[in-house]
């Protein structure tokens, strides 16, 4: 409503209605007579209607004139005239009730009007997902539906509009810079034109195809430069294909510290912690640009390829007999851990996914010599290790297979959540529509409409087909899904899923074909698409023509853990250059449950893996090479953070009192200190830890970093990782013990309260010591308290900890007992206590030796490991953690309890670094 129309004086007697304002009924008419006439040029002040007419009104109106009467108008409660309910002293009940109901509705309506009236500006009305920087100054930054309103409000409030395109440089420096840029631009243009003229390109000549980039075999390839314009920013790192999109919406790795030589989005700028949780378990979809995952191609005669895979740790029988025939024929994918042999031990490289390319014609005669191709998809932190190992293994084979580094050839997108299948169905449109080889996969994919969880698909599900450029159908439209209560559709979906694994003729996947990949990366430019679209009628989709190449893709569905209800993930592998168009469409797909798919960063990946109770590579595998690097980097980061805090506000590791005379943190506070766990430090310098701490305290930035650098070798060098299966092999009594410096990964669930953080120390429950007999003899003679003999833990520490275990139903019993006591018995008890001899040894109250009611932590000799990831788990509603334990101690711990289901087995105490309170928890091998 334009401001001048706001005050509309009502004809008072026009109807049986008058307006009653809530507080001061008189203001409105006054305001309408005196429209605002201040002249000041302040913001929040509307443009003047009759400026300069009355300067005296300036003070009284204070510049906010026209809003006031309008607010009044809005807030006023409609009221009826005193009704004819009371007539001749008689109450007409019906009309009285009616008028009361009217009043209530009027009040209600007024409240609502007040709320919806413009007490807030347009940019404040958008949900936080759609908020944009500087939306208060630029109406284009609010959604379309609110733009009109935003323009009006800005006019009313005299808000200066900003437009980055037409903004003039303000400072001298900026002006000079802009001018130089303009001149350089002109110069460059002139140069380009001259070059064109001299080369004679504008004359009709033969057209040659663009050079296909070389993929060198058996060596690492050059990274792709994403936006040529910014190539200087990509000297020491690689940008993802969606880098420019992500930089506007996410926090990236700092330019000087890329992660695994990539610039990776860490977390969206929007708040996503709880939305991420909801997307995983309730509704929505979340996508990641996972192009940084490395793909390695291995090609060669079948026999040598098999041998290489076997020496990469794929030794399970089942993988090489008839059971995994489908995997080897390329109909499914397999994920597992790769290992390599070093010296005499077996080192874990990391988790990887392996996809075979189906062979063309099956010929049983020379199957062993047949040429096969496969992709190994592995985390970039383990890429070099895998690549070198593959090279080494390939050299030993005859005939020799070759290896291709396809890191920058093949990109990928991960998408998870209940609506992920729908989003993919909406974006990926098979093309060419009738290709024989891919028909079965296409129809399988299209039969998935209505599927909420890719985890329902069979293990290792793989779909390979070609899709059309999604920009042809941009913006993506919602696909028609079967109605949720349609039983036939449900049945059809179930049938489709259960027939997924049927035998079928598989043709080679197009993504393995270099020509297909190269053609797909020659997508027509956005400009030419726009031109084509301009020729057609508005709102119609473009028809794919010969210049639109099909994009070969491979879709992998993976389940995360067995048995749990966690949603599965789709992994979409596609040529690197095609990631961006598909990403745009994916991000704009309107989901049937509302909203668009979200995007996530590295933190969201870690969050979700944590909620699933799984370890995240490389952070939770500190025994692998990649994990060691991660741990050392994290140490530095944490140390830096610690150093940066003022001395009074940071944890003083040295003065941490662990009780029983123990002072100081175990190991270095900011590290998962495996050196202490395995006793590396004791060997060379026993007091290194103390020195370190003193340095940190006294001269924060001086020595500590130097020390870590001065260390000649990686302190974690000799640590190895054991997988669960290897560990169980060591578990049988006849087998040899695991290597002394090996780690296993465990999942820790805290039983009661408490949350574990990264670097938290984990102790096993102490043994009941044989020395207990002697202490028993001593104690009654001297003192039941142990404070005197400092440096000794109470002998019943184990029982104290076991008493911490939350038990079912016991609290109620206690209450009942207490209620039963009447006054007499209580008096008797008291008398007994007073008169009787001082209590002998047996009941020293279970928590007498404690920290605020918490038992003391066990000693350093009971340290079994560290927490690598820990937080509150939104899914379980309690503290949860992933940790790394020493394999030897875990084995001891498991052997201590004969019965596997012993209620006390696998209990541990988790204590956060820098705190003296521990929490009882239970661990589980993963």
């Amino acid at each position: 409503m334009p401001p001048q129309n706001a005050p509309q004086p009502k004809p008072a007697g026009a109807s049986a209605v008058k307006s009653v304002s809530t507080n001061k009924p008189k203001i409105r008419p006054e305001a309408s007579e005196n429209p605002p006439q201040s002249k000041s040029n302040k913001r929040k002040q509307p443009p003047q209607q009759n400026a300069g007419s009355n300067k005296l009104d300036k003070d009284t109106d204070s510049g906010r004139g026209p809003k006031r009467p309008k607010m009044h108008e809005v807030r006023s409660i409609a009221a009826q005239k005193s009704h004819a309910a009371l007539k001749d002293g008689e109450l007409n009940v019906q009309s009285f009730v009616n008028s009361l109901s009217f009043e209530m509705n009027a009040l209600d309506e007024s409240m609502r009007r007040t709320r919806t009236s413009q007490s807030s500006r347009a940019f404040q009305r958008v949900p936080f997902r759609m908020r944009r920087r500087a939306a208060a100054h630029n109406f284009r930054r609010v959604p379309k539906r609110l733009q009109k309103r935003a323009i009006r409000e800005m006019e009313e409030d005299n808000t200066p509009t900003a437009n980055s395109k037409t903004r003039k440089p303000k400072t001298t420096k900026a002006r000079i810079r802009a001018e130089t840029a303009r001149r350089l631009g002109i110069l460059a243009k002139r140069k380009r034109l001259q070059k064109l003229k001299s080369s004679g390109v504008d004359k009709e000549t033969i057209s040659i195809r663009a050079a296909r980039p070389k993929i060198r075999r058996n060596t690492v390839n050059e990274p792709i430069i994403t936006a040529r314009k910014f190539r200087r920013r990509q000297i020491s790192k690689t940008w993802l294909p969606t880098h420019l999109w992500h930089t506007k919406r996410a926090r990236m790795t700092p330019p000087k510290e890329p992660l695994w030589r990539f610039s990776i989005p860490l977390t969206p700028t929007q708040k996503v912690y709880r939305p991420t949780h909801r997307i995983q378990w309730e509704k929505g979809a979340m996508a990641w640009d996972m192009s940084y995952m490395s793909t390695i191609g291995l090609s060669g005669p079948q026999n040598s390829v098999h041998n290489i895979l076997k020496s990469l740790g794929l030794t399970q029988e089942a993988l090489w007999n008839d059971k995994a025939k489908r995997w080897r024929s390329g109909a499914m994918h397999w994920s597992g851990t790769l290992t390599r042999k070093s010296n005499d031990s077996v080192q874990i490289i990391g988790p990887a996914t392996i996809v075979w390319n189906p062979e063309k014609g099956v010929n049983d005669a020379d199957q062993r010599k047949q040429f096969r191709q496969l992709y190994i998809r592995i985390h970039p932190s383990a890429f070099l290790e895998t690549f070198n190992e593959l090279l080494r293994l390939a050299k030993a084979q005859n005939p020799r297979p070759y290896i291709e580094d396809l890191r920058f050839e093949i990109g990928s997108i991960d998408i998870t959540g209940p609506d992920s299948t729908e989003a993919l169905l909406g974006v990926l449109k098979p093309y060419p529509p009738k290709s024989e080889g891919e028909q079965s996969h296409v129809s399988k994919f299209e039969s998935l409409a209505g599927l909420k969880d890719p985890g329902t698909l069979p293990f290792g599900c793989l779909l390979a087909f070609s899709v059309a450029d999604p920009r042809l159908r941009y913006p993506p439209r919602q696909v028609t899904l079967p109605r949720v209560d349609d039983h036939n559709a449900q049945k059809a979906l179930l049938e489709a899923i259960s027939s997924f694994r049927g035998e079928e003729e598989i043709n080679p996947h197009q993504l393995f074909d270099r020509d297909a990949r190269f053609k797909a990366s020659k997508l027509p430019s956005q400009q030419s698409l726009n031109r084509r679209r301009g020729k057609g009628a508005p709102g119609t989709n473009l028809k794919p023509t010969t210049i639109d190449p099909p994009i070969p893709i491979i879709l992998l569905a993976s389940r995360h853990s067995i048995g749990s209800q966690s949603a599965g993930t789709w992994t979409l592998m596609l040529p690197w250059k095609c990631v961006l168009p598909i990403w745009y469409s994916l991000m704009h797909y309107p989901l049937s449950t509302g909203g668009n798919p979200w995007f996530g960063g590295l933190d969201e990946i870690r969050h979700l893996t944590f909620e699933r109770g799984l370890p995240w590579f490389p952070g939770d595998f500190p025994g692998t090479d990649a994990g060691k690097v991660w741990e050392l980097d994290e140490r530095k980061v944490r140390q830096k953070l610690w150093n940066r805090r003022p001395k009074a506000k940071r944890v003083n590791w040295e003065s941490l009192d662990l009780g029983a005379g123990r002072k100081g943190e175990v190991g270095i506070g900011w590290a998962c200190d495996y050196e202490v766990l395995f006793g590396f430090k004791k060997a060379d310098e026993p007091d290194k830890m103390l020195v370190d701490e003193k340095d940190g305290d006294g001269a924060p930035e001086q020595k500590s970093p130097n020390e870590t650098q001065a260390a000649p070798v990686n302190p974690l060098e000799s640590i190895t990782q054991l997988s669960k299966s290897t560990f169980t092999a060591h578990q049988s009594p006849t087998s040899e013990p695991p290597p002394p410096t090996s780690l296993v990964t465990v999942n820790i669930r805290i039983l009661g309260r408490g949350i574990a953080n990264t670097c938290a120390r984990v102790y096993r429950l102490p043994d009941t010591k044989p020395a207990r007999v002697s202490t028993q003899a001593e104690v009654p003679a001297t003192n039941p308290h142990y404070k005197k003999n400092e440096g000794k833990l109470p002998p019943n520490l184990r029982d104290q900890w076991l008493a911490q275990k939350p038990s079912k139903g016991s609290p109620r019993k206690k209450v009942v007992v207490k209620e039963d006591l009447d006054l007499e018995t209580r008096q008797q008890l008291l008398a007994q206590q007073l008169l009787g001899p001082p209590e002998p040894y047996p009941p020293p109250p279970p928590n007498s030796e404690n920290i605020q009611g918490h038992p003391l932590c066990p000693g350093e000799e009971d340290l079994i490991g560290f927490v690598t990831t820990g937080s509150f788990n939104l899914r379980d509603g309690r503290g949860d953690a992933i940790g790394s334990f020493s394999a030897t101690r875990v084995l001891e711990e498991l052997r201590r309890y004969r019965n596997k289901n012993d209620p006390n087995s696998r209990l541990c105490v988790v204590r956060n670094a820098g705190q003296n309170i521990g929490w009882l928890a239970r661990w589980e091998l993963i």
Binding site: S15, E109, R112, A318, K323, L494, G563, Q565, A567
Partner: protein, 204 residues
């Protein structure tokens, strides 16, 4: 897992012999385990109906607390979003006072008419709760008992209307042979129908 192995043949045994019934699933070979996949279609909650999926292990109190919390929220939203005003009046904010009064009168007269017809919706003035959302508690298999318990709990409360609806949901199991777990293994697939129960709870 093992629970499921034992249960399934039992369930199929109890099913009456009928031509319409789906064929009985074969017995599971010895040493094999059943691995259950997540249910393929799981309807997400909407504004109008909040769906709470429960398992046999879900604590009873937590379900009732969640339902009650959602009901309270619905009540709050319903009372603040009576359709008559939000949709009609808020849309044309420039309405004159006369228009407003007329709209209110129309609304109250409609409401009183509605009560006169005896919709059972209440007392003269519409409370707006007719359109308040429902809370649906769902469970399959062993969790059905818990759903019934929750439904009974809310039936006893004066301000709730509880409706139950039976149904069946398809699920897929993997029958994994003994040695196959080590490589992740794909086993034999079988489709199984589970009975399900949903209790829709709304405020009176």
């Amino acid at each position: 897992m093992t629970m499921a192995t034992e249960q399934m043949p039992d369930a199929s045994l109890q099913a009456p012999e009928n031509a319409n019934q789906p064929a009985k699933l074969p017995a599971i070979p010895k040493g094999a385990t059943v691995r259950r996949r997540p249910i393929p279609t799981r309807i997400p909650s909407t504004r109008a109906s909040k769906r709470i999926y429960i398992t046999a292990k879900t604590p009873f109190r937590s379900v009732t607390a969640r339902v009650r919390k959602q009901l309270d929220k619905n009540l709050r939203q319903a009372s603040s979003a009576s359709n008559a005003f939000t949709n009609k009046l808020a849309a044309n904010k420039g309405a004159s006072l006369d228009d407003r009064v007329r709209a209110i009168q129309r609304h109250s007269s409609q409401a009183s008419k509605g009560s006169g017809n005896g919709n059972g919706s209440g007392n003269g003035v519409a409370t707006g709760l007719e359109n308040a959302g429902e809370v649906v508690v769902l469970g399959t298999g062993r969790a059905i008992q818990k759903v019934v318990e929750v439904a009974l709990f809310f039936q006893k409360q004066n301000d709730c209307i509880v409706q139950m609806k039976t149904g069946s949901v398809g699920a897929i199991d993997d029958v994994v042979q003994e040695g196959d777990e080590e490589w992740g293994g794909e086993g034999e697939e079988r489709v199984r129908m589970m009975s399900s129960l949903e209790a829709s709870i709304r405020l009176r």
